[in-house]
Symmetry: none
Subunit: 212 residues, 4 copies
DNA sequence: CATGAATGAGTTTTCATTCAT
DNA sequence: GATGAATGAAAACTCATTCAT
């Protein structure tokens, strides 16, 4: 009996999650909680039983994307040859984000994302090192540079969500191509101070009500 | 509250404008009208006297940036040597956006922006042609590619608004360097269909309430 | 404030209805929704939960009066002897309106009232025919004349709501007595064009905000 | 000089008055003060210089109608033969109201109207006496009955303002015809207590903001 | 556990009235 | 006197969140 109830609860949790994902995809991070409840065929109270507030709900719908992201990073590390790792990861990451439909750069603004970010950073650092060692990536590319590329691609995928995926694909190809060695001996701007980037990355979680 | 009138109406208008700019910068395009009034030390009615609704207010705060943008385009055309025009414009544009403080990519979502966009497109097309003819820009760079770069830089400048400008500067330098000739003979992704880009660009001005 | 729910939702709905009726009676069709909420000892949200907007609320408070009106028409048809039907109906109608306390002629301005009006028209046509055949009503009395009498009585009952009912009762008696045969062979004014009356009757439901 | 200014002021006052009358006729007693100013080609301040608030303005636009009403009463007294005075007055009064376009029964709700009412009452009492003496009006018709007829006709003229004047004309003819002697020996309802009517008449000036 | 009714603060917008110029 | 900018109190409606059932 209690098991049956529990399984019902699990089922409900998932329905809410799916509904929230759909709502997010449709109206963005300010989706209505009632809207979610309606889509899930569930009372609002049930939504709140499982997720204390919208933030938690967003975190929860972002979670599978985070997991997938780390999985993709592992895959890139395991399967892509040195020289193609960053590109491989970036492409699969963008593709996953485009498909997931829910988690744009807003999702990265959560506390839950911080841990993922940290893990990811290690992976990416490895990609850069390997690719640079293989001579496939310009040697002056820093981890912050890579993060900036990740961020802009993320924002572009988000922005073009309901449009032609060719847009971000082309831009990504263009940027990746430009990251190969052979550029200027010295770029026109100095590398970003890792601490500065960190401050920026941490600060992104601004409006608790999903304003932005 | 304040007692200004008549000649100071102009001053009040400016205060509202500044307040709105600050509000926009802080909470995004859904800033509250009362919030603006409070920041401007003015009654709500005064805000509405000068600007019929939020949209008009956003247009107004974006306007100077639009003007400045076209001015910068004219400058780049007149003063930058062929080969450096796109880069020159892009750098000054990003700088202006960072300084203006208000108008992020959201401001481009207004009807008022359409005309500016159209003008800008002509300028940029000219930059690309000149720079490509001068051998300073990869020949397969399309107008849509340039627009995507503009967009991502815009979003990055916005995102890093309250942080180290070195972030966007570095990224811009990196991307611009990558746009020089000498990349892959053929990019991994085909050019974006101009119509597809257009559809995307037009759709961005959709939600008047700044939902997303 | 209140803690009622579920089964008491019905009670709350009624409280809102009663409060709205009181508000209507006191300040007319432009009563404030917050005012209703306060009178009902309920949050505004509750008012809106039960009634999407003011119009729906007005319709709801008018409904029982409409039903009662048709009932009275049926009664007059069934119980009053030919010759006394119109008078019987008119008297009971005015009495019901005076008692109902809410629905003055303004309530007839709603879309919901149109159907009632149509039904009523059939009844009244029958009353006139029967009473005229019985020689109790002047033969030149048209349906539009009857409608005008209904309207003026309605307005008078409304206007005297908080005062001596003798006022409308006397006036009604006077007018009804004047409708008996034996008047001028030809009235000083021609009958009203049914289409003109119709145009007038339909126009009355125009301003949904109860301006005038 | 001061005379010239004075005459300007007079001219302005009239323009405001005319504008207010037009506004009243179009949107009813809740016309906007800014609306009036605009129609008068005058600043809002000027409206308020001449009339302390909307109430005063309404009183002012009602004034000529009051004057005209008394004038019509005098004319009826002077020109109509005994037997036709009440009818003559009533018809000309209704016509004037229909033409004046501004002053419905709302205008009668003002303190300014009280004096007019008192004067009118004397006239009407005279009409009734004369007409009854001439055998043209049922002898049991009281002053309150007459007042009720005046009121209902007023409300009907108001209600049909933008429609076929035949509506009120016909109703008036019908009612007047019914007021001739020859009705029931005794009406179904007793005369209205003059004090009761008085209480009612005085109470009508309810909402200072012209709500109703 | 689930439900959905209730709450009330918050948002946009309007407009009567005041008052500096 | 005239002007119209400024004010701020409504008013209608929304929605995240709570909590009795």
């Amino acid at each position: 009996m209690s098991v049956a109830q529990r399984s019902d609860a699990v089922r409900n949790r998932q329905r809410v999650l799916d509904a929230a994902a759909a709502a997010y995809a449709e109206v963005g991070p300010r989706f209505g909680m009632h809207d979610v409840a309606r889509r899930a065929n569930v009372g609002v109270g049930t939504v709140y039983r499982h997720f204390a507030d919208r933030e938690e709900l967003i975190d929860a719908i972002a979670r599978p994307f985070f997991d997938r992201t780390l999985e993709l990073a592992r895959e890139a590390e395991a399967e892509a040859p040195a020289g193609a790792r960053f590109a491989t990861f970036l492409r699969s990451f963008a593709q996953a984000q485009a498909e997931h439909g829910v988690t744009g750069h807003c999702a990265w603004d959560s506390p839950a994302a911080q841990a993922v970010r940290a893990e990811l950073r290690v992976f990416v650092a490895g990609f850069l090192a390997a690719d640079q060692a293989a001579g496939a990536l310009r040697p002056d590319l820093t981890l912050e540079d890579a993060a900036a590329v990740l961020l802009t691609i993320t924002m572009l995928v988000d922005a073009t969500r309901d449009h032609d995926a060719a847009i971000w694909r082309r831009h990504l190809a263009l940027v990746l191509d430009g990251l190969r060695p052979g550029g200027a001996r010295e770029l026109a701007a100095p590398p970003v101070d890792p601490a500065a980037w960190d401050a920026f990355a941490r600060a992104r979680k601004r409006d608790p009500n999903g304003r932005r």
